[in-house]
Amino acid sequence: MSTTLERPALTSTRKVAPAKGDRTLIRGQVRAGWALLTPALLHSGIFIVVPVIAVLVLSLTDYSFGDSFGWVGFTNYTDLFRDPNFLASLWHTVLYAIVVIPISMAISLAVAIGLNQKIRGLGFFRTAFYIPTVTATVAVATIWLWIYNPGSGLANGFLSLFGFAPNRWLADPGTALPSLMVVGIWQGLGTKIIIYLAALQGVSRDLLESAQLDGAGRWQKFRNVTWPAIGPVQFFVLITSIVGTFQVFDLVYVMTQGGPGSSTRVLVMDIYQNAFQNLKLGYASAETVIMMIVIAIFIAAGRLLQKADTND
């Protein structure tokens, strides 16, 4: 009954015209809303919608920076799934994401929990963990190139302390991608740690104290209070990590150029090389569309795993 009572009220709102003063106010609010939205809409239109449409259109062409181009339908897409470079790049990127994301999130959370304690030198540790994030990737990669140098690098020097034989690291197809993953994990820690730290500091003290009063141990407090409380942040870190790992490029470009062979070739590198070295912009656009789809699938999977709040 209550529903039937409310409906006429809503209908009557539509039928009964607001007073003149109200109309002016509503119109003013609408105008103000559009005025405030305009910069964001323009930005989204010019820098997101137009490029996405352009990529979708280009992916159906054979455009290669020449004077002319033709429509090729879905040929670029079918060719991609026969292209060993693309398939290798896709596999390496997915593998990179699957390994780097959970490990870096776990390490970051562990470090953030450590940094959330009252320990000496907290400021130093926080700064130290954040430095790799603010350091240029080219500089980071150069340092790691030296670390991985098979002849005089720190990595082999460290292994030799334990009597292990030297490794060829980036020069060996079997260890090149894992070596890059280590750098990726290390470099991505800083941002995640800062986010986790902020989330941990926002966990309700009252809830933690209540749990303690109820006799909960450290693990139980973490599992039943802290973990649910940082859920939305976990989801945010997961999404940004998925996007970040799928877009890995500079590290690979500087350290291995995708080699040896195609052992470390990743999607963005393949897109870049097809577009700007092989001048196959149509083909690279199709690759970009597929990358967007794969990222969307990963994010959807992440949402399911995290059982995220989907109020957005």
């Binding site: 197809p173 080699g259 070739r265 700007f276 001048l279 912009l281």
Partner: protein, 427 residues
């Protein structure tokens, strides 16, 4: 009233956007100067050129060319982009995408045909330079590389020739005769194995032969294959998916991690035989025998020779200057290329790059006479070999060769299948 007002609003917005877009466009693109007397032509000539190193010496040498050019085009500015071969395509493609194409573009062997087929370069026949005309002026080795569909699309600047060098002392130490250098692939392998030095753990401490393939095996494969008398492509058709191709690839595979570790290079990117890190190996077209370079003693320890597994060859690349087809200053660009190809300028470029000028009779050039290696490669330009007549998708194939040959050499893929794949991908 409301629809009218909305229409006015949209019109104003569209007008503002169009003004913005058009102002962006007109701000960087010069007016066309073709047909304008050189003394009156104004604008900026954009030059993409990997031939001058971006050092002070390189910039000074380039400025001399600009000064000379501006005697004819006094009001024209010149904006150089000292690219490298590694980022040449990126520069070129992004300039086209951005709508500010280069007027003069210097590329290398293998670039002309793909770009000419996309009509990115201008036919130099419009300026009276055809393959027949250039024969009288330039080294013959680079003319096929500058030609597409019977037309000339680039003017050769310098030749980047490669020879083989051996260390006499290393040969004598290994009981080999440096006066009888191994020239065939089979002989080189035997000698290289004797010349390779290892530590107690079996790690190579001095390579027996430097294949100069740290970043990829494409050029070395082309070179070794050509030495068997088999060019990589014939009239754009693959010529490597055969016994000669497979034998060559298997030979490379048998050399890597046997006489040279995979990926070996040095910080200075110098040929390893010049620094003593290899006993024998591929060298570029020049060596500095002065105290600032490797020194006279080291130079005297070197002997140069060419590959010959049935055909004596010398790999020859080079710098080739073209006019961008979207240039608004084509006549000025041609004038700049004419300035760039004056013998004195070519000598200067050759000296800066330790290469030889691409003019006829390069053997008598100052660059050739400046050191024994340049003299050797300049005299050997008649043995020139390179990728030959590449297919239209060569820019893509360059990368494919580097990746897939490496996979075959490192045992990740079957060599025969790799060659078959590469032949199938060439079109």
């Amino acid at each position: 009233m409301r629809p009218v007002r909305r229409g006015v609003g949209l019109t104003v917005l569209a007008a503002a956007l169009s003004v913005l877009v058009s102002s962006c466009g007109n701000g960087v693109i010069d007016k066309n100067t073709d047909g304008v007397p050189p003394a009156e032509a104004t604008g900026t000539l954009r030059v993409l050129i990997p031939s001058f190193p971006p050092s002070t010496k390189g910039r000074d040498a380039f400025q001399k060319v600009v000064d000379d050019f501006q005697k004819t085009y006094p009001k024209m500015k010149v904006e150089p982009d000292f690219a490298t071969y590694k980022n040449l395509n990126e520069k070129l493609s992004t300039s086209i995408a951005a709508g500010i194409p280069y007027d003069v573009v210097v590329t290398g062997v293998g670039w002309i045909q793909p770009f000419a087929s996309k009509r990115i370069f201008e036919d130099l026949g419009k300026y009276g330079v055809t393959p027949d005309v250039i024969k009288e002026k330039s080294t013959a080795a680079l003319i096929p590389a500058a030609t597409y569909d019977g037309k000339l699309y680039a003017y050769p600047l310098i030749a980047d020739a490669r020879a083989v060098a051996l260390r006499k002392s290393a040969f004598l130490e290994a009981g080999l005769d440096p006066d009888k250098p191994p020239t065939s692939l089979a002989e080189i392998k035997v000698a290289a194995e004797k010349l390779t030095k290892r530590d107690k753990s079996g790690n190579i401490t001095r390579s027996g032969f430097d294949l100069a393939s740290a970043t990829g095996f494409r050029q070395s494969f082309v070179t070794f294959l050509a030495s068997t008398g088999t060019p990589l492509y014939v009239k754009g058709e693959p010529n490597f998916d055969n016994k000669a191709g497979l034998d060559t690839l298997l030979w490379i595979k048998s050399m890597i991690n046997n006489v040279q570790p995979y990926g070996q290079t040095n910080a200075a990117q110098q040929p390893l035989v010049l620094t003593g890190e290899a006993a024998m190996g591929i060298v570029n077209g020049g060596v500095d025998c002065s105290a600032d370079g490797i020194g006279q003693k080291n130079c005297d320890d070197l002997k140069f020779f060419r590959f010959n597994s049935g055909k004596e060859i010398e790999y020859v690349g080079g710098d080739l200057a073209s006019i961008g087809s979207r240039s608004r200053h084509k006549e000025a660009a041609w004038s700049f290329i004419q300035t760039l190809t004056k013998p004195a300028t070519l000598d200067a470029i050759a000296k800066l790059n330790k290469k030889v000028p691409a003019y006829k009779d390069a053997g008598n050039s100052p660059a050739a006479k400046s050191n024994p290696l340049s003299q050797f490669v300049a005299d050997g330009l008649v043995y020139a070999a390179n990728e030959n007549e590449v297919p239209a998708n060569w820019l893509e194939m360059r990368g494919n060769f580097d990746i897939q040959l490496t996979q075959a050499v490192l045992g990740q893929k079957d060599p025969a299948k790799v060659l078959h794949n590469l032949a199938g991908q060439s079109r």
